[in-house]
Each structure stands twice: as C-alpha cells, then as structure tokens.
Amino acid sequence: MSHMTQVSLEIKSLAELERACNRLGLTLVRGKTKARYYGHSTMTCDHVIEVPRTAFDIAVKRLSNGTFTLSCDFYGQEGGILKQTCGNDLGLLKQAYAVEVAKREGRKKGMSVTEEKTSNGKIRVKMKAVV
C-alpha cells in the first residue's frame, strides 16, 4: 500500500442517492419541491426524500456547483424517527451514498466489488481487478 487518502463526502449523483435511499427504505421523489418539517411547515427544494413512519422529509437542494445538500428537522418525535432511520446528521444516509458511489466506480473499472460491515459501524468496500 503506497498511500492513504481521507475524503470528505460531497453528494454529486442523484442516481447513487436514490440507491442509498433504497438501502435504508427511503423514497427519493425527484422534482418534488416542498419538504415537510415541524408545524406543518415546508421548505423549498429540488427533490424530496420521504422517510417511513414520520411526517418529516429530507430536502435535497442542488447548489450552483452541481453538488447537493440535505436538510431536515430532527425536532420532536417525528424528527427523532428521522434521526433513528437516517443517523445523526443523516450520517447513515451519507454512508450508504458513499458506499454506492464506491461500488459504481469499482464496477466502472471492471473490478469485482464486495462490501462488509465492520464492528465499529463502518462499511468496507473491497475492489479487486478481474484477471
């Protein structure tokens, strides 16, 4: 091994975000522009992620640089369900997204790709050149 690189996540692909949603049982509704949060309020966005068992959504906004931001409300019981499903600061959704991106990139290079969960909550994606 010749180097180790740490990468801070940026959400760049709606296709992989949709796959990440599917992994967690969420639904990405493309083109829906109102995400629900506390007090029957809504925030404007480009797409919405619907989360089962809660009336709160995740707002997906596209920035001018082409990346996407995720926003939601963790307040109260509805927000608690959202946090339980998607993790603190939506970390589990972001983790699932990064795993899907890594798998896509490995397959694009024609490599065989496997994934495994580690004991500390991480997910390890392994890629191997097919000979």
């Binding site: 010749s2 180790m4 740490q6 994606v125």
Partner: protein, 69 residues
C-alpha cells in the same frame, strides 16, 4: 498483497471515507484511485507510505557474462 483487494474504501457512519490501494506500488496508486476520490468528494488529507516511493514494476536482476575480446 497477492489475493487481497487492490483498492479498499472504508466509509464511516458520517459518510466520510478512507481510500487505500494495497494492490498498488509507487505512483500507480494515485492514478488508480483518482476518479474514485473525485466521485466521493474532497480530499482532506493524504498520507504516503514508503511503498509510494517504490517503483511500480519489479526490478529485473540478471547476471550477464561479459566475454573478453
């Protein structure tokens, strides 16, 4: 690392990743992981191991007999 993975991506529960390339020696690993890292996000740090400075080919050792004229 024969039989092992060539590239490993470890993603933490916050979505941040560590990318390593145990199957590569030398600067070939940078090329092999460049697109992957760009797809995942922004590089925040990089640590080079001694392997980085190794040639990415096997040095050829051959004995040559020199005939005197």
């Amino acid at each position: 690392m024969p039989g092992g993975p060539d590239i490993i991506v470890e993603v933490d529960p916050e979505g941040n990743s560590v990318v390593t390339a145990p199957g590569f020696k030398g600067r070939a690993c940078t090329e092999a992981t460049k697109e992957l890292i760009a797809a995942l996000g922004t590089k925040t740090s990089e640590k080079k191991t001694p392997d980085f400075y190794q040639p990415d080919y096997e040095p050829v050792k051959k004995k040559v007999k020199v005939k005197s004229a």
